[in-house]
Amino acid sequence: MPDPAKTILHAIGLQKRFGGVVAARDVDFALTEGELRCVIGPNGAGKSTFFALLAGIQPPDAGRIELEGEDITRLKPFQRVRKGLGLTFQTNRTFHAMTLRQNLDTAGRGGEEPAPFRAALTAFGLDRGLDRPVTALAHHERQWLEICMALRGRPSVLLLDEPTAGMSPVETRRTSDVLRELNSGGLSIIVVEHDIAFVRATAQMVTVLHQGAIFAEGTMAEITAREDVRAIYLGKVREETA
């Protein structure tokens, strides 16, 4: 069972600058075991940089990232994945010239199929027709397949970048249902997302990014009640935080 007192993923003082733009500013972020957290923010808030730093696609200028107490700051993406980070991307990256089964096997690295993987495969309805080529799938099914691929590698933390991009409301709802079900089974999940309807339906806790820094953290009710959060989404915040 997950231990809610244990921090499974910890980012401490992350900094990232691209030329004159500060994309991550002193980001302190802690995910406890078994938590389902959504990271939101308006365009340009630093969500993509935050994802890239956690995934290892970009190295931070300063700061540290720990996964289950182990420093992974200098590890490359494939090494982080091997340590237990499961990744999916905003733009679908499934292997088009392969079947569903082959796509899933690429993430296998031997060993038995983990239970969350089987559960997600069934819940998304992808367990039938595994020998179809990926090109026969609709966009949302490819997104779901990518989540299943990440789960096949037995992650301790699932890190998803806008998993519902381009999905219809019904498909988005189903994605949310499956993620919550996976989380109730004990999987720790971070979703970087801008679709507020999805976040409202999914998240236990929400982190709001603004201008590269953490602006607010709390439950969805707490976050939406805050005047200043509503203001940054409407573009009304003054530059006093800069």
């Binding site: 490359k76 494939f78 994945v81 991307f89 990256r93 292997f95 082959q102 796509n103 993430a107 090109t135």
Partner: protein, 293 residues
Amino acid sequence: MAEIVSLLYQFGTNAAFLLLAALGLIVILGMMNIINLAHGEFMMLGAYAASAAVHRGLPFPLAVLLSAVAVGVFGIVLERLVVRHFYGRELGALVVTWGISLILSQGTLIAFGPFMAPIAIPGGALTVGVYSFSTYWLFLMAICVVLLAGLGWLYKATEFGLQARATMQNAAMARALGIRVERVYMITFGLGSALAGLSGALLAPTTSIAPFMGQQFVAPAFITVVVGGGASVIGGAIGSSSLLSLVETPVSFLMGSFWGSIALLVTALVLIRILPNGVSSLRLRRRTRGARG
């Protein structure tokens, strides 16, 4: 009857030559999308290594294996030192491999002179009617089948093959699944080099061994891989070499090998015009339609 056997033999010889010439390139161009202009020189190195080994008393089969290993190791060293810096930069890779080809051929000329001691064709001859056929070429046809089947098995049925195909399709996603992309690239380039060395060694007894011998293999190799297409590189190469030989063989038979070569090039042009994505795209199109229908 003897004419039919002779035509079949010619067809097999032509297809085997195309496939052997293309073998290493199937992996390096077909899978890694590296335009390796040093492919012919890798084959030349294989032929040189085989000749050197045979003339030091090693049996030919052992010399062939040794050549494959030597060129494979050479390929891995080259990949680590040079080629890996040019992934994703096709034109850069093209220029750098061209440079490598020049260094290899000129270097060989300086080090070993204009000719290397030839290797006698192993095996004897079979006679059907007035025609006689080299058993060595029959062996080469068989070895082509074995090598392609082995390559197909490696890439379709093993974990390494799956990871390699995933890496070639989308390296970023492969990394996100925990695949050691750098290692996959290194092994794949080494394997392609080893296969080029193996082909060079196998073809060494059929040709004169010289520093610039690689040039005769480059055009057929590229034509076979490009006409085959990227949807299924191995299947594509088999399809293209068969189609090309199907045209080349009767034309050579009736009008001589010069016109046979012209027919091969014209067929390649026509095939690329009709099927820009290669022969293997036919199969993929059919499969996708089947899955949707």
